[in-house]
Amino acid sequence: MPPRVRVSDLRKQYGAFEAVRGVSFDINDGEIFGLLGPNGAGKTTTIECLLGLIVPDGGTMEICGIDARRHPIQVREKVGAALQTTALQDRITPREALQLFGSFYRNRLPADALLERFSLMPKADSPVDTLSGGQKQRLALALAFVNNPELVFLDEPTAGLDAHSRRELHAEIHAMRRDGHTVLLTTHQLDEAELLCDRIAIINRGRIVATGTPRELVARSTRAQQITFETDQPLPDDVVAAFPGLTYPGGSDRRATLHTNTTGPAVLALVSTLESRGIGLHELHLQKASLEDVFVDLTEAEPAERTT
């Protein structure tokens, strides 16, 4: 089966600022695909290009077999989306909004079914401006499902929600996968991406810097393992110099972190060096690299690259 979404070499420039610089990725049928990146990385621009809200400067986009650049209206027929900074009129009710937006599509789901599914029944006939943040976000999701979409785009779905509402929303997104929907979501929160996504593309400064499952990304990291230890006295300079992957604040600090992808020899070398110098070891932790480490490594390398 061909991928649901195929994006290649997507480009968008605002004046001198290149928001998206040659983004390519595929999304397979039935997977939850996450675009992960810091604020301003180009996630929203990418989604808005896919939906035809922004005309890209270059690249190709194919969504559900449709050329999205040529037929944006056809794409919208098949895609449901919940974007940031969208709103509804204050005095409209959830039921009215679902009925109204349903009327724009050829293929639509009944409002009652959506109200039920997104637990909005108690508020079905109250004006939107009386809804809580979580309820508004659930209504936005319900609106994204109003056309029974083949593909769902969620741009920062949990931004600005409290912990409880976030958990509710995560459950909703899990339910989408269970129901076989294909989902593209953007987030700048790693735990969310790790929790929800089958595959992730990390985007930074308009470029995809890594793609894969969360596990693959972590495994692929050059600093897959992290050794954290505490000594009984500050580390002498020559010891610090002997371990290239060592992060040590210096001064009187006694804690240090060593990144390595050869854990065994590294631990052996560290312990024997400290032993030979008479430095006592209080604590030693071995830690697998997290997605956060991968993310930080990939997104922090960029500024240096930019200045050169």
Binding site: Q74, A81, A87, I92, S103, F104, R106
Partner: protein, 533 residues
């Protein structure tokens, strides 16, 4: 197009849920109407002459502010961004928004008309044509509202832009201030704004001759409306992030402006800038001024003078012989003495003041009239016979003595008139002849209507004339008016509203007759030939 109808229905539903919108949409037009009703309470038929202005202001407010504010605030909040995710074309949304607003304007207009009729206004003479005129005006202003909404990046910008269009259009655009009170430069400017065309078109269907007489206004509204709607759709912005400065559609603004400019130029080219009644008045003045000095005094025109006076209707009063007819109507074929029984029965008619002229028998004579500047004081004193004027204490052309206090029930009306006279446009025109004639029409009209305050009005007007015009000039002008009561515009008779008077009595000859007598009575006072009681 899919979704237009549900969107239209929802827009209307939401509008009626919004209390502020209801306030602006229905309460304000009603209050405005009541204010006009109170302001012009002396009109014989309430409000009928102001429906063009009232309805235009309603449309203007609803389109320039109401629709633009809604559009921009929804765009700012991201409502349009949400709509854009659905497969609904831009045109469908714009269309349903404009149509929804049109429906609201139409209901507000109907409410105003119903209210006016409840206050005593008759049904507009051409109700169906009124709907057409109203719709075209709505089109023009809704297009304007769309352009404002697309130009403004936020709601305060709508207010600012709206005001810069709303206020000038109200004041110098012929909407709230009648065109006849505007200086020429404002008239030329107003030709570029849709306001005056809207007022004209609507007014013509309420108490005028219908749409057939205002074809140009309809074309102007259509042109402005279509250009503005096209520009509004071309400049459409979904997202508050798209600012107008960087928007690719801003070139469409030229289309909207082209609509306005072409209408303005067309009006200039077709000579439609000066409104008809004003043009008629000026033409009369011009023709009087242009009359050749072939007849040096009214007493000696050459009987066989070629007909070169452009207004041939009423030159019969220039007599060839030594005496002149004053207030000739009773002696001409246009009004038989019997037509005005009071006059005939109780007093000597004005024609009796002076030897009946031979010319009166032949009204078709078209001898040119000498301008008032040719009149001499000697001639005035030689011609006029003051002792046959109707008495000041009589029923015709009464004048109160200065010692006589007006009855208490007339105080308010006199007060309104006194204040009105200070700013009454026809009484302030630069041309002395026209101004004097216009002012003398005031006591003449009051007299014909036999209003309770009639005896006290002449003094007020005389005072104004004596204050503003040099005595000798005034005497010569008054004489000219007395001799030629049919020469010049009668437009002032229909502009009495600011003085708290009903407009135009139907019998103009009677009014002109009184005009002549009041002119002679004032000459009598000024020269001392007929002192005040």
């Amino acid at each position: 197009m899919n979704g237009i109808w549900p969107q239209l229905r929802m827009s209307l539903t939401l509008y009626f849920r919004n209390r502020m919108a209801m306030l602006y949409g229905y309460l304000f037009p009603s209050v405005f109407l009541l204010a006009f009703y109170v302001l012009y309470r002396y009109e014989r038929v309430p409000l009928v002459r102001y429906m063009g202005e009232l309805l235009t202001v309603t449309i203007l407010g609803g389109a320039c502010f109401g629709m633009a504010t809604t559009l921009v605030s929804e765009r700012e909040r991201g409502v349009w961004r949400r709509y854009r995710l659905a497969p609904i074309p831009t045109g469908a949304l714009v269309l349903s928004t404009v149509v929804a607003r049109y429906v609201l304007l139409l209901t507000a207009g109907l409410l105003q008309i119903a209210l006016a009729m409840a206050l005593g206004m008759p049904l507009p003479v051409h109700p169906l044509q009124l709907v057409v005129a109203f719709s075209l005006a709505a089109l023009a202003f809704l297009g304007l509202g769309l352009v404002i909404a697309m130009l403004a990046d936020n709601v305060p910008a709508v207010q600012a832009l709206g005001q810069t269009i709303f206020l000038p259009m109200l004041i110098i655009g012929g909407v709230a201030v009648p065109l006849t009170s505007l200086p020429d430069w404002a008239l030329h400017l107003s030709a570029f704004f849709p306001g005056r065309y809207a007022v004209e078109a609507i007014q013509a269907t309420v108490n005028g001759a219908g749409l057939s007489t205002v074809g140009f206004s309809l074309v102007a509204l259509l042109l402005i409306g279509v250009a503005a709607c096209a520009a509004g759709a071309g400049m459409f912005r979904w997202d508050a992030k798209q600012r107008i400065a960087t928007s690719s559609g801003k070139g469409w603004l030229a289309v909207a402006l082209a609509g306005w400019v072409s209408v303005g130029l067309l009006a200039q080219w077709q000579g439609r800038v000066i409104p008809m009644e004003l043009a008629a008045e000026r033409a009369a003045i011009a023709s009087a001024a242009a009359a050749p000095p072939a007849a040096p005094t009214p007493s000696a025109p050459a009987p066989g003078e070629p007909a070169n006076n452009p207004s041939p209707s009423s030159t019969a009063d220039a007599s060839p012989a030594g005496h002149t007819v004053i207030a000739a109507p009773a002696s001409t074929e246009r009004q038989t003495p019997g037509a005005s029984p009071t006059t005939a029965a109780q007093t000597s008619t004005p024609s009796g003041l002076i030897t009946p002229p031979a010319a009166a028998a032949a009204p078709s004579t078209t001898a040119p009239i000498a301008p008032w500047e040719k009149v001499t004081i000697e001639q005035v004193m030689a011609d006029l016979v003051f002792d046959r004027l109707p008495p000041d204490a009589g029923v015709v052309t009464p004048i109160a003595s200065t010692a006589q206090d007006p009855p208490e029930e007339t105080w308010t009306d006199l007060d309104v008139m006194y204040n009105g006279l200070q700013t009454w446009a026809p009484g302030r025109v630069p041309d002395i002849l026209t101004r004097t004639r216009n002012l003398l029409f005031v006591p003449a009209v009051v007299d014909v209507f036999q209003l309770p305050m009639e005896a006290h009005v002449p003094l007020m007007v005389y005072e104004t004339l004596e204050r503003d015009i040099d005595r000798d000039v005034l005497i010569r002008v008054l004489y000219w008016i007395a001799v030629n009561p049919d020469e010049g515009s009668d437009a002032a008779v229909d502009q009495m509203a600011p003085l708290g008077l009903p407009n135009g009595p139907s019998d103009m000859q009677e009014v002109r007759g009184r005009l002549g007598i009041y002119a002679v009575k004032l000459i009598g006072r000024l020269t001392g030939a007929r002192p005040a009681r």
